[in-house]
């Protein structure tokens, strides 16, 4: 069992579960704040997934210091995990922050307009 469930698979599983929870919340919740929270959960799941894809068994973080150099016998190539997904996730987190901040600002304005956060009450564009 333990060799079947390695760290990469566990992270992948957690990422998938968080994505599912996020989608479920986005589709089923009625309160705007809850929709925003579901959105951030979905985003966290995707970020975990991307980082998990860069994982390599038995290797360490892509920061070259003395311990890494010793471990590798001055061959960094065999000691570190993939740095590219981590850099991409850094970008994704910042973009996610921006989107969440905008969503919260819109939620504030919507509440001011109708004094409610129930998404069903905003049916002006429905026919």
């Amino acid at each position: 069992m333990m060799e079947y469930l390695n760290l990469g698979k566990i992270s992948l599983l957690i990422g998938f579960i968080l994505i599912l929870i996020g989608f479920w919340g986005l589709l089923s919740q009625k309160n705007i704040i809850k929709i925003i929270v579901s959105f951030t959960i979905l985003e966290t799941g995707i970020n975990i997934l991307i980082v998990a894809l860069g994982w390599i068994k038995g290797r360490t973080a892509p920061i070259i210091d003395d311990s890494v150099e010793q471990m590798a016998n001055h061959n960094v190539l065999n000691t570190i995990v993939d740095p590219v997904p981590q850099a991409l996730v850094l970008t994704a987190i910042v973009i996610g922050f921006g989107v969440t901040a905008l969503l919260l600002a819109y939620a504030m304005k919507l509440f001011r307009a109708k004094r409610t956060l129930e998404i069903n009450k905003f049916n002006d564009l429905k026919w």
């Binding site: 599912l20 089923s28 304005k109």
Partner: protein
Amino acid sequence: MIKNSLIALVLASFVFMFYHLYMSYEPKTELSGIAAHYAEHGAAEVGAANLVTAVVVTYRGFDTMGEVTILFLTASIISFFLKLSKKDEEKVIVHRGTSELLVTASQILIPIIFLFGIYVFINGHLTPGGGFQGGAIIASGIVLSIMANPNREINHHAILWIESISGIFFVIIGILGIFLAGGFLDNRFISLGEFGDLFSAGAIPIIYSLIGLKVGAEISNILNRYQKSQKES
């Protein structure tokens, strides 16, 4: 009822898709393509111990510039969107004071939080962390100060100036890279220095400090807008 079953259908198809992805997943055993190049030549080419920083600031520096622009755009859209009318702007709401514990603790903690944020972004090329993380830590200090004293006014002009100046210098350093080194945002026009020192990796510590200041100022600006919009009637 129909709605619930549709949601169940969507989720079930996602589970189906993820199940196959999960089952066919094989962890990588070695670095591939561009990652191998970064690992092998990153330290010599860029001089940053933290390879993620090397990728974010130098190899994908243009990407990071776009990212900072998106944050700036978010801050300006929120400023525009939550703009108060003249009448609301002059209104004074006196909030109830918060507990003494929070006020006293914030006086001790806020300088330490700011210091830690600055440490994180100055050491971005050596340790985990960097401009975005440091900026977020600085903004968390501002959240604490707002929570401890809800009537506090954040100096809007200081934020505006810090943000504009650091943004302009980021672009200027990028352009200096074109003329003095290999290309836009190339960090090698300052000598790379001793690998692993604080003043090493060329322009990376400068660029990351500017990004840290800019991100901290932008998040503080967003927080300031949220706080002010309480006055809106």
